[in-house]
Amino acid sequence: MQTRIISLLVEDHPGVLTRMSGMFTMRGINITSLTVSPCETDGLSRMTVAIKGTESELEKIRKQISNLIEVVKVVDLRAEGAIIRDLCLLKVHTKDSDTRLEVMLLAESYGANIMDATQDSVIIELTEEPGKIDRFVDLMQHFGVKQLFRTGLTAIGRD
């Protein structure tokens, strides 16, 4: 099993997301991350889809997705070539001021931003490549993560 990131340029029509995700459903492939957003061209949207599967499964699904009428372009972003980012918001429990200080220092060392702090919690924002976010979240589990939000990854290929 490997992870593949596919970037799709699609027509901004109702139903496109259902059509696209239905293609994965029909083939029993699980989407691990999905982001949809406007792009540089009016009337088109960009979808960044991360999927897990075998090489041949992923190749088949890529061709099937290309067949969809409203998919204008499919780019296969191999992990090694692309710049990948994920945004994470997490609320960490801080039982006392020492803990708060430690959490804030660790956050700073990861390049994360402190968005808010209360007596017993800190809200942290981190935009990074997904593996680094995983490590940061693991670290924060030690203090107690009350809530975790991740946007899912987005990626851009290099020229």
Binding site: P14, G15, T18, K60, K63, N67, I69, V72
Partner: protein, 572 residues
Amino acid sequence: MAKVKLSGAKIVVEELKDEGVEVAFGIPGGVLLDLYDVIYKQEAIRHILMRHEQCAAHAADGYARVSGRTGVCIATSGPGATNLVTGLANANMDSAPVVALTGQVVTSAIGTNAFQEASTFTITMPVTKHNFLVKQTEDLPKVIHNAFYIASTGRKGVVLIDLPKDVLSDVAEVDLHPKETFAGYKPNIKPNKVQTKKTAEVLANAERPLILAGGGIISSDASEELRSLAELLGAGVVTTLMGKGAIPENHPLCLGMAGMHGHLYANRAINECDALLALGTRFSDRLTAWQLDQFAPDATLIHVDIDAAEINKNMPVDIPIVGDVRLALHDILKWLEKKQKLGGKSVWLQRIKEMHSACEECIHDIRRAGSSVSDMFIKELSVILDDDAIVTTEVGQCQMFAAHYYMTKKPRTFITSGGLGTMGFGFPAAIGAKVAAPDKKVVDIAGDGSFLMTCQDLATCIESDIPVVVCILDNRYLGMVRQWQELFFDKKYSHTGLGLTPDFVKLAEAFGCYGERVEKPEDLEGALNNAFESGKPAVIDMIVGKDDKILPMIPPGGGIIGMIGTERCKHV
């Protein structure tokens, strides 16, 4: 073109006319009143009132396969649309160009569980090539133009347009007949020159070349090119079920249909060849069987298909070519014609000759030892009907008897449900076929189980004067499932006996059709003549034995050279 002010319903009909639509198969309903009001007031499009929406879709499908044009079917919202689904899935699986129009509740009521509301857009998404839910009348011209463009180009298929009632009744100012299409839809029809040249080299140097002709040959009208290539190369030709008719089955190089219920020697040839040119086929499991190491093990495998997603999907190939089969054949022929010498295949030609005659002998010898009555009926039919006659089939034993023993001579004359295997398909498809080709004889080879699923449309045949003939292989069983129960489930005939099925002759007569019962194959010709002479739709009830089996076959899990029941075949 100047803008015109029209109601949505009028726009729909104007655009259908512009697309060259001559006939539509449908059933009206509450939300379609505006559309049917416009249909009522015009004569350019013939509307055939069906008696079930599934039949409307199958009829449009049959019409499309026989005429090569896009078939059109119409159904109302909710149950009308859900009834259509089987027919749409069937046409889409077999890449038949069909445009379906469905009514929908008014836009303001969508999502409220209104009367006769179903989410047709989401329900039909996985069974269509594309579908539209039109939200405003202004969008109709572009949507309809694109629907026909998408259905009839690239890998053909089904496009559904869901039409809310207010979109049909509202008036809008529009430009009719737009030409713009979607940026993301550019069917790739031109084959790669490097690949076609490489193919020509492989074929020229092969000692045992074989061509596997699929439904793509028929949908791209490439029969002549196929035949030229086979004759130029001295290559054998086998077909898939969908490819039946791609080459005349009595052609000396043709070894008939391959696969699970195919001809013994078509399958042997696939196993023996050293170059296999597969044209417009998707290597379905009913063709390749399950032991893929028996499928062309020594061959260089070349696959031409218009759908890039089919390449390497079911079968790993050596030379992939994405493009229109006819254009690819054209290019391959051009490369080959430049070669001086293509001979040196006399051993293979001799082998093809002996395999061809072994198969042909089985079919021509109507009462060959070991034949079942079902075999004999189909062999009779093959002799009686002329080369232009169109045969449709239901699904199950009747379909495989037809595929195996009916000799198809021309493309678009053998219409069957290949991918979905839809019982009840053959009869409404015959209606569509007869509408597409009113001067040709149209016969549905049916089983009693299948025919009962859609027989109500005898009423359509009578009312709209569509004289098709249904020939039922009547064994009072769901024969194919029974055959499997006999062979693989210890003869435990669980729920395959149909018991007291109706008297099909009386059933036909009740609808005002002609009916006749035939007990012996040799009496079929007389009955068929009576049916054709009656000028009416007809049902011929052919009584066959419940133990008739369609053999030889590849058992489940087997490979292409592991056929069972070959005792009756001539061995060469």
